[in-house]
């Protein structure tokens, strides 16, 4: 008799679970396009994935030595070919910088859709760069780093060539700088409307630097060659995703404005945020992990509460508008306090939304998802 009880109870539980499965399956069928894989599958954020470098399409060759160039300070060859790029943009004054894993980034669903969307324009750019500089953007570029007044590209530049000067102009003259740098003055190519000259530098065969200011190039080369101090390395430094970096200073202005837009302007200190460390993975969606450092850590709990409130309001709003996709995305946003008193946040943007933001509205299926702006999402 007792055996029967256990058997019946287990059978009842199993049947109940099966009934739940069937109704869920019905919901999924009914949901159709509204419920895609992105909505059902939990998003993995860069924070959870740790430091997983992208599998590069082309293996980077590490130069044993910079050939034929002996500078004033003899330095050991870099064992990590990727370090010079990081050093080039990371100044000691804590300036902002952003890395783009250009090579790895090309080979994922979101980037492929974006490349397809802007195919004509991109093909034209690729052809222009290949003809002008001998660099195939699809194959030769490994990483790109962006900093204020500095643009750095690492990759394979064996076929790099100097652009042909305009008729009547003198050919470009390289000026050696430091142990392995060559600086070129591109003033003759400068836009006539611009009051600044353009310069670029080549450091070995694997790094190109572009800037409007010659001084910026010199400082970058000094940092690479160890003559100038570099900034504090963020914990996630080096292959921390597809797009990652440190947002500070002037680059924070849009975020500060967005924050101030959602709260009482009178009571909001426009300089609340000190620094923002971001990492993101691009796949079928853009998953972003951000660590926000505040100028006043005491404001952290309040700001977290505010952020959560805005997210909850946005989620309700999305639900009311029937935008289940956006509601699902907002559900997965995480906002919590770090042990050091900062704010950690994980959020994701679906492929359709990113493409729409980047000017590919035709890729949207069904009704467009509203942008997470102040009107409906609050952040």
């Amino acid at each position: 008799m007792k055996r029967n009880q256990v058997l019946y109870t287990l059978l009842a539980l199993f049947l109940l679970g099966f009934a739940g499965y069937l109704t869920s399956r019905h919901d999924e069928k009914k949901g159709g396009n509204e419920k895609d894989a992105f909505q059902n599958a939990p998003i993995k954020f860069p924070r959870q994935q740790g430091h997983q470098p992208r599998q590069l399409q082309y293996q980077i060759k590490v130069p044993k030595e910079t050939p034929g160039k002996k500078g004033p300070t003899q330095r050991k060859p870099e064992t990590d070919m990727r370090a010079p790029l990081e050093k080039a943009v990371n100044a000691a004054d804590g300036n902002p910088f952003l890395f783009v894993e250009f090579n790895g980034l090309q080979h994922n669903p979101l980037a492929e859709a974006l490349l397809d969307c802007h195919k004509d324009q991109i093909d034209q750019t690729i052809k222009g760069v290949l003809d002008g500089f001998g660099i195939d953007l699809r194959k030769d570029v490994d990483r790109i780093a962006i900093a204020p007044d500095l643009f750095a590209i690492s990759g394979f530049f064996e076929h790099f060539k100097l652009p042909t000067p305009p008729p009547g102009s003198a050919s470009l003259q390289a000026e050696n700088y430091g142990a392995g740098g060559q600086i070129f003055d591109l003033s003759q190519y400068a836009d006539q409307n611009s009051n600044k000259n353009h310069h670029f530098a080549q450091v070995g065969e694997n790094l190109l630097l572009i800037s409007r200011e010659r001084a910026s190039l010199e400082q970058a080369i000094d940092r690479i060659e160890g003559r100038e101090a570099i900034g504090v390395r963020p914990a996630f430094y080096g292959a921390a995703g597809d797009l990652y970096g440190q947002i500070a200073g002037a680059w924070l202005a849009p975020l500060q404005t967005l924050l101030a837009h959602n709260v009482d302007r009178e009571s909001m200190d426009p300089q609340t945020i000190d620094k923002l460390l971001v990492r993101s993975f691009v796949d079928d969606h853009l998953a972003i992990s951000a660590d926000i450092q505040l100028k006043d850590p005491q404001k952290t709990p309040e700001l977290i509460n505010m952020g959560r409130g805005l997210l909850a309001a946005a989620r309700f709003d999305a639900m009311n508008k029937g935008d289940k996709k956006l509601a699902s995305i907002l559900d997965q946003v995480k906002l919590f306090q770090t042990p050091k008193g900062g704010i950690a946040s994980d959020l994701a943007l679906p492929k359709d939304l990113v493409l729409e933001m980047l000017g590919c509205p035709n890729s949207m299926e069904g009704s467009p998802s509203p942008l997470p702006n102040g009107d409906n999402a609050g952040f």
Binding site: A12, L16, A19, Y21, T23
Partner: protein, 277 residues
């Protein structure tokens, strides 16, 4: 076979109780009254036009099939929900009566297994409700046939779905009645399950008021097994109105409802087998 004998015993017991007869009579009279009160002027007018001129009215904006669609939809929804609702009231005390002290010992002394008693009781009660629903359906269809010369098998789907919904509710009522031996508790459980089954269609809206995480997951998993009465009745109403498509048939929901009902019966069996009579 013994199961059917038990079911027959339950039916005899039910009809010996005046309340069941009163409730079934109420269902019948209510639906016949509704049918008589229906606005069938468009249908009658069209029929008259056919008799007089050989073709229906073509100058009106409202077509006969549209009117009939709305009538069948309304009646199907009423059959579904009123059937379940009144079924709960009418049969709430039956199992407790049968399984009360003295009578259950008598049943157990007979050469029947406990499983047969439970399944037989369930089938008997379902048979009573099915009888009531068929009476209501027959009454409605008969009135419509005599009044509008129109017959449709559409509402049969609503009747079957209504009976399925009642099975879902009653299987769990049976389990509660075995544990509690209390009519108010059994009736309350029936109404709560009926409510939950209706609310389960709005599971997503309910979940949205809970923050993401374990709290929402609990709500989510709590509501999942409950059959979606709202969707079943809507589909049945649409089918009754002539919008029948096999592709629209919520097979998962129907099998899910049957499984939910089976889970309730099995639980009732588990509870009944642990009782020491």
């Amino acid at each position: 076979m013994k199961v059917l004998l038990i079911a027959q015993y339950i039916l005899a017991e039910a009809f010996s109780r005046r309340m069941i007869v009163v409730v079934i009579g109420a269902i019948l009279l209510g639906l016949i009254g509704l049918s008589l009160a229906l606005d069938l002027e468009v249908v009658e007018g069209s029929l008259a036009a056919v008799k007089l001129f050989g073709k229906g009215m073509e100058n009106g904006n409202t077509r006969v099939d549209v009117v009939m669609f709305h009538i069948f939809q309304t009646v199907s929804l009423l059959i579904f929900h009123m059937g379940v609702f009144l079924g709960i009231i009418a049969t709430g005390a039956l199992a407790i009566e049968i399984l009360s002290a003295g009578r259950v010992e008598l049943l157990l002394s007979l050469p029947v297994r406990r499983e047969e008693i439970i399944v037989g009781t369930f089938l008997g009660v379902v048979g009573i409700t099915g009888f009531g629903l068929v009476l209501a359906l027959g009454g409605f269809s008969g009135v419509l046939f005599f009044k509008a010369n129109y017959f449709s098998a559409g509402p049969i789907i609503a009747t079957v779905m209504g009976l399925l919904a009642f099975m879902c509710v009653y299987s769990w009522m049976l389990a509660v009645s075995i544990v509690s031996q209390s009519v108010p508790l059994t009736l309350t459980s029936g109404f709560v399950i009926y409510l939950m089954c209706n609310l389960s269609s709005t599971r997503e809206s309910i979940m949205s008021v809970f923050p993401p995480g374990w709290k929402r997951s609990i709500v989510d998993y709590f509501f999942r097994p409950f059959p979606r009465f709202s969707e079943l009745s809507t589909w049945a109403a649409q089918a009754a109105g002539g919008q029948w498509h096999f592709s629209d048939c919520p097979v998962d929901l129907i099998i899910g409802a049957m499984t939910f009902s089976a889970a309730g019966i099995i639980l009732a069996l588990a509870l009944f087998s642990r009782k020491d009579y």
